[in-house]
């Protein structure tokens, strides 16, 4: 398991964030020292910024088949998600509707927004998922009542990679006259999003998962959707989201979308499948989430019985591999992953998983090293573990 000192880190935590692509950085650079104007200013510098802002908006809009004036820039995926839950909730309260439907496998920014809304008197339904993490569209249909305002579903799951059938859910919501929001932070540019065909009313996007900068997000709001602003101030973004626009970030976001390609998706999917195939050969390991094209092209999440995910992650780190664990033992709240719980992982195995998430820049050579290293680590940690596993019918 030794490794030459000079070896670079192998970064497999791209679901957390990605490296900014050099082309993105280059596109952003002029907006720091030269084109630094405020897009609200009337002089030439301001107008330059305004133009860059609108060009970027067009790029994002086209990528999901929205109209440009349906795209609103925000500070993050977190802000966009908060905006949807709170903005739709409060804007429509007068109609007498106070029910929101979501799932048990959402990102914390949706779940914690929903919990806060419960304190404000809203009713929230948290839908179950099956053992691969899929929401059953008919559960959505059955949960909708005449009090329901909004259905909010995560498109590609950030922990286990499950891609939901948003087209079917979108159709149900449209038929029932309920708004449908999709959190597409993980799936954007990796899975097709077509707001017309899929009947989407609101879509959350962000830049830092796709080799763009951190701290930039967007919300698609279909024309006609009733939502109140969350951030009040100088009336930027058509009075819907105040605050001086983060032009360099937005320009970088648009560039990141432009450089995304189907070739990269195929490349990641191939490496993903190799990792899944090889790691599955480690005894008493289990893939969390589905296989094949209903899984995000860059997500791998494995459970290893009788070891602790945090220890696996630390060992990988010692070997210069950056991973992530859904293990309580590495987080600040000491609560195990709500997603693994929702797919029915037994309490005893809840802290035994590790997530590897790829980017377009990972290589096959890196992957081979990761597989070999991981195999050794699991072997070593199981030797330390008091739990006996059966190998070929024998306890070892």
């Amino acid at each position: 398991m030794s490794l030459s000192i000079n070896m670079e880190k192998i970064y497999l935590d791209n679901a957390a964030t990605t490296k900014v692509d050099e082309r993105v950085l280059k596109a952003m650079q002029p907006f720091f020292l030269e084109k630094f104007g405020n897009a609200s200013s009337q002089h030439s510098l301001g107008q330059e910024a305004e133009m860059a802002l609108e060009e970027s908006r067009d790029v994002i809009a086209k990528s999901i088949r929205a109209k440009s004036d349906e795209i609103f820039f925000t500070s993050s995926g977190t802000e966009s998600n908060n905006w949807v839950i709170k903005g739709v909730g409060f804007e429509n309260l007068a109609s007498g509707k106070n029910h929101i439907i979501t799932t048990k496998i959402e990102h914390d920014c949706i779940l914690n927004s929903c919990r806060w809304m419960e304190k404000q008197g809203f009713e929230i339904t948290y839908l179950d998922v099956d053992k691969e993490g899929f929401v059953n569209p008919s559960d959505v249909r059955n949960a909708i009542s005449d009090k329901t305002l909004l259905v909010s579903v995560i498109h590609g799951n950030n922990e286990i990679g499950t891609i939901q059938d948003i087209e079917t859910i979108g159709k149900i919501c449209r038929d029932k006259g309920v708004y449908f929001h999709v959190d597409a932070c993980q799936s954007y540019t990796k899975v097709p999003i077509d707001v017309r065909k899929q009947n989407l009313d609101l879509v959350t996007l962000n830049a830092h998962k796709i080799n763009g900068p951190k701290g930039v997000g967007a919300l698609y709001i279909r024309e006609g959707v009733k939502i109140s602003p969350l951030i009040h101030g100088g009336n930027q973004e058509s009075k819907m989201r105040s605050g001086t626009e983060n032009i360099h970030g937005i320009v970088g976001f648009a560039k990141a979308v432009k450089i995304s390609s189907s070739g990269n998706i195929r490349k990641m999917a191939k490496l993903r499948d190799k990792l899944i195939r090889e790691i599955s050969k480690i005894p008493h390991s289990k893939l969390n989430g589905p296989e094949g094209d209903k899984r995000l092209c860059n997500n791998i999440n494995f459970l290893f019985e009788a070891v602790e995910g945090e220890a696996v992650g630390a060992y990988l780190d010692i070997n210069k591999i950056c991973s992530s664990t859904g293990s309580a033992c590495s987080s600040h709240n000491l609560k195990p992953s709500h997603v693994l719980k929702a797919i029915g992982v037994s309490p005893m195995n809840l802290n035994s998983s590790i997530r590897l998430s790829l980017s377009k820049d990972n290589t096959e050579k890196e992957i081979d090293y990761v597989i070999e290293t991981l195999r050794n680590i699991i072997f070593k940690l199981r030797k330390v573990s008091p739990f006996k596993l059966k190998y070929d019918g024998k306890e070892k």
Binding site: E310, A311, G313, A314, D317, S327, L334, V384, P386, F387
Partner: protein, 124 residues
Amino acid sequence: MNNLVYNKNVLDHFQNPRNMGVMENADAEATVGNPTCGDVMKIMIKVEGDRIEDINFQTMGCVAAIATSSMVTEMAKGKSLDEAKKITNKDVAKALGELPPIKVHCSNLAADALKKAIESLNKK
């Protein structure tokens, strides 16, 4: 996840655990679980007179849990039962140097398991 979370000593015990594995013919053993996270540690001891002649551990846990397990076995080996019983979780954590604050609960397993093993001996 970052190995800067743990100091050198902790990482050394984690990667090269001392006195690790099953013990044949142990005189006493005890298993304790960490209620906060579900991790488990087992201590096995062999006694000669009133001294801990040999001691082994097995742990399913995080880096801190494995390192503290390893450390407690080093500290207890060769000590009299009375001395060994006096080892506290704080002593073990201190011997390792520093643990990150959210990892302090992990060090609670080690001395507890040792004490439990020694007490089970007295009952025999």
